[in-house]
Symmetry: C2
Subunit: 360 residues, 2 copies
């Protein structure tokens, strides 16, 4: 039996199902499908592994698929348009359903396509990476990249269901498992010091793909995310806390060129930079900062931006971040471990020091 959480968004509330072997279970899809037409959006890596098992759950429907190239560098307007080409070639109507089968890139692109196709089709997330299961498939943020910045074009659009089959993590490359752990660590850093303790003592099991440890980490992560999203769907306040490490991280991703760093890797380094600035503000002790870095490193993640990215270039890239308000850069920083704040009240010189010192 899957574990079920609910994202409490009133008329747009939806379940997150977590468990093994969920992919092929028709009962999990049926209540959320409208019409008879289903378009599966996936990529060339995931399709050979999981397209057939998913199709088994959908034999009652007219199912088509569109297979995109794999990687953040393809999260573009041009590739996004392939989804519309496929929908229109098959003459899919407004009452069709899009299913995202894959990681965060697939979920973001398929979700934004569902939001935009004929001004709104139904949408189901079937995340197959740890990162997508704990983060990107939950909460309704969808979008694509622009050469000048990540996720600059998109929509808030909630899925009708999230089906997280943990069996799919068995085929996940180790580097992507680590990238997913970056977001898991994030929930501990911003909200739950006890979860941080748990992660510290279970990191080896997580990296070894112990099923119970992974299921607990996913569940706790989704609980925290669902709670924050339910309180602030459109990110007018509290939800911004979920961007801990992301303003630094997006700058690293963009600066390194999409596809070179995984999103989770950039977030890992970004969290270390945000913690570094928090320490310079006197909010974290040196030993707490050390603990952040050790946790990030223990998950197999980088703790610093690449050397070739200068502080000036990073500042430049951070200035287009979505958290800029009235021209002021706002950052998510740590008041203490387990408690984050969004603030523009920091000495810009300290930020420069953090960025200049990033090759620790």
């Amino acid at each position: 039996m899957p574990q079920t959480l609910t994202v409490a968004l009133g008329a747009r509330a939806y379940p997150i199902q977590i468990g093994t072997g969920l992919l092929s279970n028709p009962d999990l899809y049926r209540p959320h499908l409208q019409g008879a037409q289903v378009m599966i959006v996936t990529n060339e890596t995931v399709a050979p592994l999981y397209l057939d098992p998913l199709r088994e759950a959908l034999t009652e429907y007219r199912v088509r698929e569109v297979i995109l190239p794999d990687g953040e560098q393809y999260k573009t307007l041009e590739v996004w348009n392939w989804i519309f080409d496929a929908l229109l070639a098959e003459r899919f109507a407004r009452d069709c359903t899009l299913i995202a089968l894959g990681g965060g890139v697939i979920g973001d692109m398929a979700g934004f396509a569902a939001a935009s196709y004929q001004r709104g089709a139904a949408f189901i997330q079937v995340p197959t990476t740890l990162l997508a299961q704990v983060d990107s498939s939950v909460g309704g943020k969808t979008g694509i990249n622009h050469p000048s910045g990540k996720n600059m074009i998109g929509a808030f659009y909630q899925p009708r269901a999230v089906i997280a089959d943990t069996t799919t993590l068995e085929t996940l490359p180790q580097r992507e498992l680590s990238a997913g752990l970056a977001e898991v660590l994030k929930y501990g850093f911003i909200r739950d010091a006890a979860f941080l303790d748990w992660l510290e003592s279970h990191m080896a099991e997580l990296l070894g793909r112990d099923a119970d440890a992974l299921a607990y980490a996913i569940r706790r992560s989704c609980e925290i995310k669902a709670e924050i999203v339910a309180a602030d769907e459109l990110e007018t306040g509290e939800r911004a806390l979920l961007n801990f490490g992301h303003t630094f991280g997006h700058a690293i991703e963009t600066g390194a060129g999409y596809g070179n760093w995984l999103h989770g890797e950039a977030v890992g380094a970004g969290m270390c930079l945000a913690a570094d600035l928090s320490a310079r503000l006197g909010w974290l002790t040196e030993s707490e900062l050390e603990r952040v870095r050790r946790l990030v490193a223990s998950a197999g993640l980088p703790c610093a931006a690449p050397n070739e990215l200068s502080a000036e270039r990073l500042i430049d890239l951070m200035a287009v971040d979505k958290k800029v308000l009235n021209g002021q850069l706002r950052l998510v920083l740590l008041r203490q471990l387990g408690e984050a704040v969004v603030t523009a009240e920091f000495d810009p010189n300290l930020l420069c020091e953090t960025l200049a010192a990033h090759a620790f």
Copy 2:
């Protein structure tokens, strides 16, 4: 003093201001602008005429503009992306405001860009054509075309205000004035037989750009549209009535190639086709059908599809329409003059007869 209507959409309610000389009045914009950054989206025809007057109203803000080519054939994904290029080149933040200055194409593209930029920026409509003032600027439908169909990619996204300066109609080409009158006639056909009588007796003044006649026609049109939109924002029911003539019209527009027929011209012909089918169903008398055609023709609009479009090709194009539900084509037809219904309950042979007979 402008006349003010309100589109009653709860937290998303907004005013429509109608009158002369509104373009340069800062008081109409100030309450609806957020942040300090304003991006005016306009086209190369409108910019030389009205960009400077609009800028006069915005001297307190950091104003930039992006000027698109003029015409339905440019309502594409590629040209839409120019707006993001401009926003990001100027490092505009999420709390910026986009102002659409132009006709329906500009309003649709700028509105969808506002909906999507960083997942939602503020948006104001400043329509400069009759069609945009009576129809496309009100109600929150935004989007772009796909080679396979009109407005297939888009969002429901409400503006914060609509500022309809009737002075701008003085420079409108006669062909576009007629195209706008197609939508004005539509409101009479679907909802208000008395307005139809008024239009019949005032068509000469409207074509002669009599300011009072135009102001009345715009106001009555916006009243009807605002009422229908307030009752059904996301087009789950009644709002579909506003598509009277549009399923036929979109097929004509796509079939003729975007940019060859104006949207309003295609809607004019489409309304005649829809009335023809209504007559074949026994809902309109021959003389009522004649009256529809006469009214459309009196506004300077075509009453039939182009001869080179076969009935088969039109059927084909209509099959991708957004009003297809569960594979069934639904059409807006006239029960009587002043009363429209959405229905899939018609003999497909009668539709074929209508399309085959379209060169009346």
